[in-house]
């Protein structure tokens, strides 16, 4: 119970920070719409449904990357992470809370991005929405974890995409599959499996990333 309270307090801190500073979410929204416009000019006239759903996933991935890159910036600049590590709570709560906050930002960006995609390119199917939701979970759990790793290094922002993209390839496979195939059950199941597996690994090992 205390664990849930810790998580809620930490996540609330991130959401409140965003609500007051408005750093991340507007940038993500602008980025995803701009990406769609770029894709429109990069692709041949009236792209097929297959090509368009591929670029939807590329846009989601890079928008998420933008948000993840910002996730630990306040902690870094104000040296909050040292305080959080010293706080008498389970360290994995820091990761859970941060994942929830990034998930909220990503979901908010997608609430805008999916209708815009439907408007610009092709209508979005129900299985695509389900796939996006499951993929978001995976992106946020794994992305927050490697974000915490990257922020501790000298290279910082440079390292995050390098660490994240190879880990995100299975998510893209599952997501694209879920949005283009007639019976997407296998792909959705795969996404759920990915989420579960990596959430467990992240949850178990986050302590070693922040503490010495």
């Amino acid at each position: 119970m205390t664990y849930a309270r810790d998580v809620a307090a930490l996540a609330r801190k991130d959401l409140l920070l965003e609500l007051r500073a408005r750093d991340t979410l507007p940038a993500m929204l602008l980025f995803v719409v701009a990406t769609f416009v770029v894709f429109h000019f990069a692709l041949p006239a009236s792209p097929s449904r297959l090509a368009a759903s591929g670029l939807l996933w590329v846009a989601i991935l890079f928008t998420a990357l933008l948000g993840l890159g910002r996730a630990f910036v306040p902690e870094r600049e104000q040296r909050v992470l040292d305080g959080l590590v010293l706080a008498p709570c389970d360290r994995s709560a820091i990761w859970v809370a941060k994942s929830l906050a990034t998930l909220a930002f990503l979901a908010a960006a997608e609430v805008v991005a999916l209708p815009v995609y439907a408007l610009f390119f092709h209508p979005v199917s129900g299985s695509t929405v389900l796939g996006v939701a499951l993929a978001d979970l995976g992106i946020c759990t794994v992305g927050t974890f490697v974000g915490a790793m990257a922020v501790a290094t000298r290279a910082r922002d440079l390292l995050l995409p390098l660490l994240f993209l190879p880990l995100a390839i299975p998510i893209v496979v599952g997501g694209v599959g879920a949005s283009v195939v007639g019976a997407p059950g296998r792909y959705l199941g795969f996404l759920a499996l990915y989420d579960l597996l990596f959430a467990l690994v992240c949850w178990a090992s986050f302590e070693y990333v922040v503490a010495e």
């Binding site: 790793m149 290094t153 290279a155 390292l159 660490l163 190879p166 496979v173 195939v181």
Partner: protein, 243 residues
Amino acid sequence: MTDPGGDGDLRQSVPVGRSHRIPLPSLAAAALVLVTTALALVFFVAPNDADQGFSQRIFYFHVSIAMTAYACFVAGAWQGFKHLTRRDPGADLAGYVAVHQGLIFGSGVLLTGSIWAKISWGHWWLWSEDQLVLFLVLFLFYCAYFMLRYSLEPGPQRENMSAVYSLFGVVLIPVSFLAIRLAKGLIHPVVFTRHGPSFGGWILVTYCVSQAAMLVLAYTLYRVELAGKRLDVRLRELKEVLV
């Protein structure tokens, strides 16, 4: 980590002359003999493949190098696990060396796979080849391992992160494999299966010998690199004491 104050402290920090069961020279000799035997078997004894002829022989190396690379990655993760759970003092360096060897052998997989693809299909790269695509993903993943490791200061944090990252690797291998299988059904159907039902006699013997050769070779290289790295660490510590 260790405070280089006294000599007694220093002796504990990195075990240099840990007693391994097999001495390095005999290990190297075994690797030489096995690799030579494997080469001889592959080129002179194993029968030509009915479909693909001579070029199929590269598979004896391609597959065994791939298995060896997996073994290295798993060994790296095992050392990482040992580091995280037991704080084994030599595990960090051992894990790094294992991942390094895995990356070297992984490049070997990409190379042999590309050569085969060129001869068989006329292209240097084939997305329909599971093993090749999987190793490309792993190659990217483990290259990032080195980026991560070298942008952290030496110390407990670097050791922890390297260990955690190598553990992520062994989770990523089966997940990526599954993903690539799924993607293949998505992008294009399976064109053919490589291994027919007949997989016995000299083919099996040749494969087993080349597999053993690659494993022993990898272990030898691992030991050589590890010895060098340990010596390096020891030397640096001694220098610190002198300064």
